[in-house]
Each structure stands twice: as structure tokens, then as C-alpha cells.
Amino acid sequence: MTPKTPSPARPKTSGVPTVSIRTFITPRDSTRLAPRDFTRVIGTVGAIIVSTLVLVAIFAPLIAPYDPSIRAGAPFSPPSAEHLLGTNDVGQDILSELIFGTRVSLMVGVVAASAAMLIGTTIGLVGGYFPRVGGIIMRGVDVVLVLPFLPLLIVLSTYLGRSVLNTILVIAFLIWAPTARVIRSQVLSLSRRDYVTAARSMNAGDGYIIRRHVLPRTFLLAIGEFVAATSAAILLESSLSFLGLGDPLQKSWGSVLYWAQARGAFLTPAWQWWVLPPGVLIMLAALGFALLGYALEQKINPRLRRA
């Protein structure tokens, strides 16, 4: 027989980074890995990384030694007491660029992920709660999932032009689909529970059931999805900026790397202070949100916990 429901191990995605983090959890892990401790460690590490970065973003003007937009020293200076990470090709302080870049990178990640979560949750909710319409909607979701991801992102941002808002819109428009699938399967299972049938038999309306029985149990899952999506969005933003498609006035970590690449910094010793630090920051941010998302999901998703 042809399987009617696609098994979870057979994702139809052209490779959105957020989906695979879910594949860590297996029935056997729970007995061998003391998952509660493992989850706690991972969650704590993620929380520390994320909160540090958020603090840096908030207090950027206080921490940064220079205004990143001004010429603060001789171009291409190596690290010194005045410029801890040296200066770039126009004499801007690289450390200050990175500190202020935290704002742009985090904001794009968080806002794009929030928008994606909103779209994904709405579509997943409708798709799961109204199975007939849902089937058609999920076909559309599958189409979005199959389109080659990064190339489409590039095409869209090229047409829209370079601005922070456009970057956010484009990323949000492309990363909601996996969220929609996860939310939908949760809603599908929730809306078939006995208490929903009971409520319906007592003439409860759809709006009431969704508000009272479905949304509260989906909301937390959506938060886990949101944190994981932030990680993906931060990586995507860095790729776009690296290709020169970021906002020219709002430098992010990715655009620092774009200029490092354009000026050939990785062919000189400058890679140690111009290439290494921004990449480490991108990696830390993506990792921090991914770990946090994983820990939240472990705590939240009842299906995973029961297993």
C-alpha cells in the first residue's frame, strides 16, 4: 500500500536548516542520555549565548569604542591598543562594526522569524483544524518547500532592493513553511482528541474550540519553532549580506565579511581579525538560538517528552 501520511523521516524540503534539529530526539535517547540533564545543559548554554548577544545589541553605543560609520584610524591597521580588531579598508574600527552589527543581525533574525512564525502558525492552524481546506493548503506548502531556497531568496532580494526591511520580508516569506507543517500536525492531533469531540457535541463553535483547546497547546510549540527559525534567519541574513544584498547603510556581520571578501582580507594576515571574528559571531548566534530552540522543544513538545 502507498502510505497515506508521509512519515516524519521523509521530509520534503530543499533544506531549511531548522528542520533537522528535530531529528536528535529518539525513543532510545531517553533512557541512555539522561535527556533532562542533557537538555538542561544545552538550554543553559543557548540561553547564555543569546542573552549575552542581546545585551551587546542593546548597549552597543556604550560598549563600542568608536562610531562604526566614521574613519577612526588608518585603513587596514592590524590590531592595536586603539583598535582591538584593527580597521577595515576605509579605516573604520572593526570591533565597533561588529558590536553594532549585532543589532542588525539579531533584529533581522528575530523579526523575520516572528513574521514567519505568524504566517506558519496561521496556515498550520487552518490546515490542521479544517482538514479539507488543509489538504489543499498543505499542497501549496509543499510547493514552497520544494523551490530551491537560497536562489529564490537571492532573486527576490535583488528585485526588491537592498534594505533591512526587504531582507526581513524575503526571509520571512521563505522560512514559514516548515513551521506550518509542524504546527499543522500538532493541531491535527489536538483537534481529534476526545475533549474536542465532547466540546463539539455540546455545540461549541470552532472559534471557541481553537481558542480554548487548540491554541494554548500549540502556542508553546510555536515558540520553540520561532527560536529555531531565528537561528535559520540569522544564517540566511549573513549569506545575503555576504553576497552584497544587505542594506548598504546598516552593516551586519555578514556585510563585514562581504567587504573582507571584496578587499581580499582572507589572502593576507588580516583574516585573523577581519574574517575570523564576524564568522564566530554568526556561528555563536545561530548556535545559541538553535540550542535554545532544541531545549524548549524538548520541554514543550509532549510527543517528544512521552517518547
Binding site: 523521516a9 520534503k12 525513543p27 532510545r28 520544494v146 537560497l150 529564490l152 555576504f242 564568522g279 540550542l291
Partner: protein, 324 residues
């Protein structure tokens, strides 16, 4: 019907994906604010006289009703007529055919390598679940998933080309060199080594995580206990029963990774100035060469669909349960 019952709905879905991609290509430049002339003919309207502008508009068919333009566009796409590049004034079809082999070389090699590494490590980690080596490889893979690949590529250049001097830092061949056939192979391999390495690292975590998960769920099945109970050695259980079953869902993931790898080439080929399709996308984006950008997007879409179709065809062969 046989396998077709599984396959036919998929074909329909892929046709829709292709139609969506082609329609996106058609509508995006026409719905953007400003004159579509800049996007479709590569000229700023303000630089032209009224007559020149009119001539260009009718040449590009922009004076026709939208629906006529739309069908004409489909006709062009289906006959592989993508027009000319704004920047290089060359037929786009030829440009793409020039670049495609290089991209195929690095993506397919990287896919092969990452499948072998991902599957082997995934089985190993699952077999040693919960132990130090499993946790260590899991953590490494999570960290790799969060690493921007282009940054990794830049570090590789700094390390292997600049510091150690082992590998060339850009291009696909040494320009202007006359080489024997054997030297040519070495030269091509040396140039492809770092892009392949970077792409492989990009793809391993996804395959590893799926293989590990899949192996773990197979190991929980009753028939594995039966195999162990009848006295098979661990190696026999692993090779005959566990891996054979666990590899089924992974095969799909590998095919789908091809689409992901193609996307990854855009940033990776940019880092290494590797003359493939991904680099072509970057060049087209930097110079606002919209037709080239659109055509490459379409080629990427078709590649993803081919990979999906292969996966669909492969699936029933690997898993007899899906045959009817």
C-alpha cells in the same frame, strides 16, 4: 498501476512547482515599482529618447497585453530561449552550459562524500548512542549546522592557500598553462578540492542526523531483537538488518540535499571564484543582469525537481513495502 500510484501525484506536484517558478520569473520584474524596461531590457529609461524607448518596448513585447506576454514567455522558456545576457551580450543558454559542468563536478562529488561520511558516522553514533563519542559527534554536527559555509571557505583559503600554500585559492584551472592530460586532472582536482570540502561539510550534518535518527528507530524494532536472539554478531545485525532498513529514508534526504547543495554553491563558488553556476548567480546579481539570474534560478529549480524525481523512483526500489 504499481509504482505509478505513488509516483503520479508527485509528478503533478513537480509540474506545479515548475509552473510557479516560471511564473515568479515572469511576474517579479513586471510587478516591481518603476519601469520594467530597466529590468527586462537592461537600460535606464531616462537615458533614452522617446522613439528609442518605444522601439525597445515593442521589441521586448511590453506593449502587448499581459496575458499575451505571459504565454509568449512560456513559449520561450519551453524552447530554452532565455534571451541574451545584459552584461555579456551572449546567449544565456550557452553561458549556463559553460558553467554547469563545474557546478555538477563539485556538487555531485561533495554529495557522494557527504553521503558516505554522514551515513557511516550516523550508524556509528546510533550504535554507540549516549556514549561520549555519540554526544561528541552530535555536538560537532550541531555546531557545523550553525556555521556559515562561506566563512568556512574563507578560512580554508587562508589556511590551505595562503598559509600552507598547498592549494590554489581561486578558479577551476590554472589559466594559460599547457598541461598533459594527467597534469590537467591533478590541476582540476586541486582547484576543486576546497569547494568540494566546504560543500561536503555543509551537507554532512543533515545526512548524519537523519541516518542517526533512522538507525535508532530501526534498532528499536522487534526483528532486530530476533536477529540478535538467533545469535548473529553485531556486525551481521548492523549490515544485514539495521543499515539496510535505516538507509531508506536517508536516500530521500540525500537526493533532496542536492537542491540544498546547489543553493550552497552560490556563496561557496563566490568565495573560491569557481566558475560554476553559483558564481554566475553572484555575477548576475552584482551587475543587475536579470535574465541570467532568472535563467539560473530556473536551472536550479529543475535540478531540485530532477533530484526529487530520482528519490521518488529510488524509494520503492529500496523499500519494497511502498510497492503495490
Amino acid at each position: 498501476m504499481g509504482p505509478w500510484r505513488f509516483f503520479l501525484p508527485r509528478v503533478g506536484q513537480y509540474a506545479i512547482v515548475l509552473a510557479v517558478a516560471i511564473s515568479l520569473n515572469f511576474f517579479l520584474p513586471r510587478l516591481m515599482p518603476g519601469s520594467p524596461l530597466a529590468l527586462l531590457a537592461g537600460v535606464e529609461p531616462s537615458e533614452l529618447t522617446q522613439e528609442e524607448r518605444q522601439a525597445l518596448i515593442s521589441e521586448a513585447g511590453l506593449d502587448q497585453p499581459m496575458i499575451v506576454q505571459y504565454f509568449r514567455y512560456w513559449g520561450n522558456v519551453l524552447t530554452f530561449n532565455f534571451g541574451k545576457s545584459f552584461r555579456m551580450n551572449e546567449p544565456i543558454g550557452e553561458l549556463i552550459l559553460d558553467r554547469l559542468p563545474w557546478t555538477l563536478l563539485i556538487t555531485l562529488t561533495a554529495l557522494l562524500l557527504s553521503s558516505l561520511i554522514g551515513i557511516a558516522l550516523g550508524v556509528l553514533a546510533a550504535w554507540r548512542r549516549g556514549r561520549a563519542s555519540d554526544v561528541a559527534s552530535l555536538n560537532t554536527m550541531i555546531a557545523l549546522e550553525s556555521t556559515p559555509s562561506f566563512w568556512l571557505g574563507m578560512l580554508f583559503v587562508a589556511l590551505f592557500s595562503v598559509t600552507l600554500g598547498w592549494l590554489p585559492s581561486y578558479g577551476a584551472v590554472t589559466p594559460g598553462a599547457t598541461l598533459s592530460p594527467w597534469e590537467t586532472i591533478v590541476d582540476v582536482a586541486a582547484h576543486a578540492a576546497m569547494p568540494i570540502l566546504t560543500l561536503t561539510i555543509l551537507s554532512v550534518p543533515g545526512i548524519f542526523l537523519t541516518m542517526r535518527y533512522s538507525t535508532l528507530s530501526v534498532m528499536g524494532e522487534d526483528f532486530i531483537r530476533t536477529a540478535q536472539a538467533k545469535g548473529l554478531t553485531n556486525t551481521q545485525v548492523l549490515s544485514r538488518h539495521v543499515v539496510r532498513n535505516a538507509i531508506v529514508p536517508v536516500s530521500t534526504v540525500i537526493a533532496l540535499r542536492l537542491g540544498f547543495a546547489f543553493g550552497g554553491t552560490v556563496v561557496i563558488e563566490t568565495v573560491f571564484s569557481y566558475p560554476g553556476l553559483g558564481r554566475l548567480v553572484f555575477e548576475a546579481v552584482s551587475s543587475r543582469d536579470y535574465p541570467v539570474m532568472q535563467a539560473t534560478f530556473l536551472v536550479f529549480t529543475i535540478a531540485v525537481l530532477i533530484a526529487n524525481t530520482l528519490a521518488d523512483l529510488l524509494y520503492p526500489r529500496l523499500d519494497p513495502r511502498t510497492r503495490t
